[in-house]
């Protein structure tokens, strides 16, 4: 979870107090990534300890600012392409792999159940997008919606591929 870098990105827009950092982060992420206040302050404490932010508590509320180190860290994060592919350890894959261990028919049932649920999820998102639409959604929300739709499509394609492989081995 890149909350740490997300907070640095919010602070790159100028000094802010803790609660404003939380709300700006949530707005920037299209409202789909909620943070609790405790998590925000814990992360800010660590960033201060690491010299990425400074804290000014001379006024009524604590105001955080990005340091030069923080600027550099943020620039590195934005530019670092994730070249090293992470191990494929998502839950859906784990479910299919463990189901396969119980036998082909069980795996096919698990695939079918998840295909239905994911398709239903796509339909619900589409309905919401049609009802509320790009006229009311912020650009961030539209981009988040696109990502969620495409990821669900990708999972569905993968499930189809799993099914085809299982059918081919029967």
């Amino acid at each position: 979870m890149a909350v740490r870098e997300g907070l640095l990105a919010v602070l790159s827009g100028g000094p802010r107090h803790g609660y404003q950092i939380k709300t700006d982060f949530e707005q920037a992420t299209g409202g789909v990534w909620r943070l609790n206040v405790g998590q925000v302050y814990t992360t800010l404490d660590r960033l201060e300890r690491d010299g990425m932010v400074t804290l000014d508590d001379s006024g009524e509320s604590k105001v955080y600012s990005l340091t030069e180190n923080g600027e550099q860290e943020l620039a590195r994060w934005w530019e670092a392409a994730p070249l090293d592919e992470a191990p494929p350890r998502d839950e859906l894959m784990l479910k299919v792999l463990t189901a396969l261990d119980r036998g082909r028919d069980h795996a096919l049932r698990v695939i079918e159940a998840h295909r239905t649920v994911l398709t239903s999820l796509l339909q619900q998102r589409r309905r919401r997008m049609r009802e509320e639409g790009p006229l009311t959604d912020s650009l961030a929300t539209q981009i988040v919606n696109d990502a969620l739709m495409l990821r669900a499509e990708s999972d569905l394609r993968w499930l189809d591929q799993c099914e085809a492989r299982l059918q081919a081995t029967s």
Binding site: E112, R115, T116, V117, L118, T119, S120, L122, Q123, R125, R126, M149, A152, E153, L156, R157, D160, E163, A164, Q167
Partner: protein
């Protein structure tokens, strides 16, 4: 604002324990087995499944293009298997429209003449047919250059013309078999969005066969077919 919404009246299409086989004896192949399906007026259904699962067969039976082996297919309450060839032709002209991956427009007719064709075949006068065809084309977002020939339009525009042709006779059921197969992504999305708007606009029920989850997501219901069976459904 929707003018129409899926109703609970007489289904526009009903499959009752439908079986479809090809061949016989040891060479018999089941394309559909015990399929039950009800499609309400103005409902948008997507049918998904791997190649050979029976998707296209389902559309053929729905439109009376092929007879069932067993069971019943009702279109607007009437049993298709009891219809004469002439009745079936009338059914396809007046009640059931098709959109295919291949555009099937007649190249020697202009856009508006292509759309006028089903009306003229049904005895509508040329003037009225032209007015209705022009309105149908406007309904799918085409209002210019209607006297040009199909090849003068882009692929997406040609599919819009095909949709207008299938709608012009105010048919209650539209069967679309991979209608975006020959289009690029942008045109595909536009065509599906257009299709998805038809039930609310005209009260037309749609059955869309597609491989694309993105397109199926527009549907009220998604039916999953496997080896000729309906195995699941999502809403």
């Amino acid at each position: 604002m929707s003018e129409h919404s899926p109703s609970t009246g007489t289904p526009v299409l009903e499959f009752m324990d439908v079986v479809k086989s090809y061949g016989s004896g040891t060479t018999e192949t089941r394309a559909l087995t015990s399929v039950d399906l009800r499609v309400a007026p103005g409902e948008f259904i997507a049918v998904m499944g791997p190649s050979g699962c029976g998707k296209s067969t389902l559309l053929h039976l729905a439109g009376g293009l092929e007879p069932v082996t067993a069971g019943r297919v009702l279109v607007n309450g009437r049993d298709v298997s009891e219809m004469s060839p002439a009745d079936l032709a009338t059914l396809r002209r007046r009640e059931v429209g098709y959109i295919f991956q291949r555009l099937n427009l007649i190249p020697s007719l202009t856009a508006v003449e292509n759309v006028m064709l089903p009306l003229e075949l049904d005895g509508t006068g040329r003037k009225e047919a032209r007015e209705r065809a022009t309105a149908a084309l406007q309904g799918v977002g085409l209002s210019h250059h209607l006297d040009r020939y199909p090849t003068e339009f882009s692929g997406g525009q040609q599919q819009r013309i095909a949709i207008a042709r299938s709608l012009v006779a105010q048919r209650s059921l539209l069967l679309a078999d991979e209608p975006t197969g020959s289009l690029d992504t942008v045109n595909s999305d536009e065509v599906i969005e257009l299709l998805a708007g038809l039930p609310a606009k005209f009260g037309t029920a749609i059955i869309l066969v597609t491989h694309e989850p993105r397109f199926a997501s527009w549907a009220d219901r998604v039916i999953f077919l496997r080896d000729g069976h309906v195995v699941d459904e999502s809403r």
